[in-house]
């Protein structure tokens, strides 16, 4: 500390202060007040989301899609597998608004029934991926040390195989092709990204002061993980999950397109697009409708993911 300069008065010479330590400042205008209850990240996010038109539109669209997937008969009376070859590639007529595909099946009906495959795979895969990846990532980050090394290497191994390639290998080796196996194929190679995001999030939350405080107060590991770390780390995981959902749906369609996904006995958009390639020049509408349906579905999930991310990201507030 530098020596006090001789020209400046030592602090003791300051005027003694009137004894008013106990006086409270009168509450006047301008003193900041709390407007309502303090809001948590979640209620803030929900508050923002409710006002976000993108969120509302995409959420409604997704709800609609789920209804279509679960109750297709509400939307069409035609059997999607009832095909009359004579109607092959014909355009739209009353009662069959989208026309017929190469086999003479009603496209509108196939589009409606095809929603089930895509939505089911999307939801199944995302749930599985969040569970597997979330648990692995959280454990790796929380326990660190050897656990982290091992789990991270495992994550790297699965990450090293690109999603589509891995799914192809898996499905090649599996004689049964149905929604469950296709979902499993995508799940097995899709979880590493969630694990990484979760691991990163938990690591950054783990260092936070409030966690140190909880530990100092004697909280057990499980309690800290459950009540302090996970609620804060889950936000980026939700964002990546909602965005990945759309990608998983595209992946399933791609697998069906390559002929290695859902069998032709299951009505799927990817399969229909695959079949449409041969009639591309003469009857583009056969390609158009399932493509539009697929794209709208994926777009809805992407928009939802974007809206959720904007609401949860503290940096963008």
């Amino acid at each position: 500390m530098p020596e006090p300069s001789p020209t400046k008065p030592p602090l003791q010479d300051l005027k003694p202060l009137p004894q008013d330590v106990g006086v409270a400042a009168p509450v006047g205008t301008g003193a900041p007040e709390r407007i309502g209850k303090p809001r948590s990240l979640w209620s803030d996010a929900w508050h923002d989301l409710r006002r976000n038109p993108t969120f509302i539109v995409s959420a409604l669209l997704i709800l609609f899609l789920i209804v279509v997937a679960v109750f297709p008969s509400l939307f069409t009376g035609t059997d999607p597998k009832f095909c009359v070859l004579a109607e092959s590639n014909k355009g739209g007529v009353p009662g069959h608004p989208f026309g017929f595909d190469r086999q003479g099946c009603d496209i509108y009906s196939r589009v409606i029934y095809g929603a089930r495959a895509s939505v089911a795979v999307g939801i199944l895969v995302t749930t599985g991926v969040v569970l597997i990846g979330g648990v692995i990532g959280a454990l790796a980050a929380f326990y660190a040390g050897a656990t982290d090394s091992v789990l991270s290497r495992v994550t790297d191994v699965f990450f090293a195989i690109p999603l589509l390639l891995g799914a192809i290998v898996f499905l090649q080796s599996f004689p049964f092709r149905n929604i469950l196996t296709v979902s499993a194929a995508i799940m097995i190679f899709g979880w590493p990204i969630v694990a990484r995001v979760m691991r990163g999030a938990v690591i950054s939350v783990k260092e936070a002061d409030f966690v140190t405080a909880a530990r100092a107060l004697g909280a057990s590991d499980m309690r800290i993980l459950r009540r302090h770390i996970l609620p804060n780390a889950i936000a980026p995981v939700i964002v990546v999950a909602t965005i990945s959902l759309g990608l998983f749906i595209v992946l399933e369609a791609t697998l069906s397109f390559l002929g290695i996904g859902l069998p032709s006995s299951t009505v799927s958009w990817g399969g229909d697009i695959n079949d449409a390639q041969s009639s591309l020049r003469s009857a583009p509408h056969v390609l158009l409708y399932p493509s539009v349906a697929l794209s709208i579905t994926v777009l809805a999930f992407m928009l939802l993911g974007d809206a959720v991310r904007d609401a949860l990201d503290p940096k963008l507030r």
Binding site: L11, V23, T29
Partner: protein, 350 residues
């Protein structure tokens, strides 16, 4: 005539006209931030001047408007949402606020330089310190890479960074906090500016390092006769270094005085409270004193004197009329209706 000769001519004309003239004159500066939650009046009618070679400290709590004032002077305010709505900032007679951006830029770095609080985030992590110092010469003086590097080493020596020649290619994260702040000072110093604005330069540093950095600034200033505007909330840092102190509260300048006078005999209740809040060794065992309440929300500044809700001496007039900044003596001013009573200690607590 080149721009340089125009500058020198203007400079000389200014000096000839009024040899004691201030190098910087801020008059009635108003800055507001237009946000979703309302208009925050960050700076409300701030007026001060800076003489060549003088050290002015701008003192205030967080949110008092001191950093915003500095940014407005430099012209680096975030616009939107910040807008300068009134006032002038005259550098040697030229009002910087009226200049087009291209002109304004010529002052930044060259005539007025700024250093910031957190040197780690204020320096670009992907370029070497030599690059970042040398950049000043390459951009403003057209120097070559080699020349710029030589100058960078010189500057690093000047701010007492050991082994400058070896460390010139190192990156910011490889230096300690105090060293990084010196690098920021080196950058600010590089073109021999007339004024350096230091925005909380030592807040992020340890106390001993703080002292070293402040001493460095003082030495550099004595060498080059440049003006220094020191922005801080720390009364301790200011005591040794400042010639005069301006105290800000809720965007307004509420007291200005030579530092000796301010510490010895404050003329505003807020300053008085701030000084009283410094923990005193000779009053051990007593409760630490704080100022009751918290600073106002800048979108809703109290009517009259902004400090009145927290002032123990507040009278009815304080909530009705904004106290003007009055001259207390030749070089002292205070914005309080009752500054006389504060000075002679005759104020009653309500």
């Amino acid at each position: 005539m080149t721009q340089d000769t125009i500058d020198t001519t203007a400079d000389n004309a200014w000096r000839r006209r009024d040899p004691g003239a201030a190098v910087l004159e801020v008059e009635n500066l108003h800055v507001e931030f237009r946000t979703r939650d309302g208009v925050a009046k960050a700076v409300n009618g701030v007026t001060f001047d800076l003489q060549p070679g003088e050290t002015l400290a701008i003192l205030g709590e967080s949110g008092s408007g001191k950093s915003v004032t500095a940014q407005a002077i430099m012209g680096i305010l975030d616009t939107p949402p910040g807008y300068v709505t009134q006032g002038s900032v005259r550098f040697r007679g030229t009002d910087l606020l009226t200049l087009p951006e291209k002109e304004r830029r010529r002052y930044r770095g060259e005539k007025i330089a700024m250093i910031f609080q957190d040197a780690l985030s204020s320096l670009n992590p992907v370029y070497s310190v030599g690059f970042q110092i040398g950049e000043m010469f390459r951009v403003h003086r057209g120097a070559s890479r080699a020349d710029a590097k030589i100058k960078a080493i010189e500057l690093m020596d000047r701010v007492h960074i050991p082994a400058a020649r070896q460390r010139v290619n190192d990156f910011p994260h490889q230096f300690s906090g105090g060293m990084r702040q010196r690098i920021m000072i080196a950058i600010a110093l590089s073109l021999d500016p007339d004024i350096i604005i230091a925005d909380e330069p030592t807040t992020a540093l340890d106390v001993t390092v703080q002292a070293q950095v402040m001493q460095l600034l003082a030495d550099l200033q004595a060498e080059s006769k440049m003006g220094l505007i020191l922005i801080t909330h720390d009364l301790g840092v200011v005591a040794d270094v400042a010639d005069k102190i301006s105290v800000m509260y809720a965007g307004s300048l509420i007291e200005q005085a030579p530092s000796l006078d301010l510490y010895a005999n404050p003329a505003h209740p807020y300053t008085e409270r701030l000084l009283a809040a410094i923990p005193r060794v000779d009053l051990k065992g007593q409760e630490l004193y704080t100022i009751k309440g918290i600073p106002p929300n800048l979108t809703d500044i109290p009517a009259g004197c902004a400090f009145h809700p927290r002032c123990p001496y507040a009278q009815p007039i304080c909530s009705e009329k904004v106290p003007p900044l009055e001259d207390v003596s030749g070089d002292r001013r205070s914005a309080c209706h009752f500054w006389k009573e504060v000075l002679d200690g005759s104020l009653q607590i309500r």
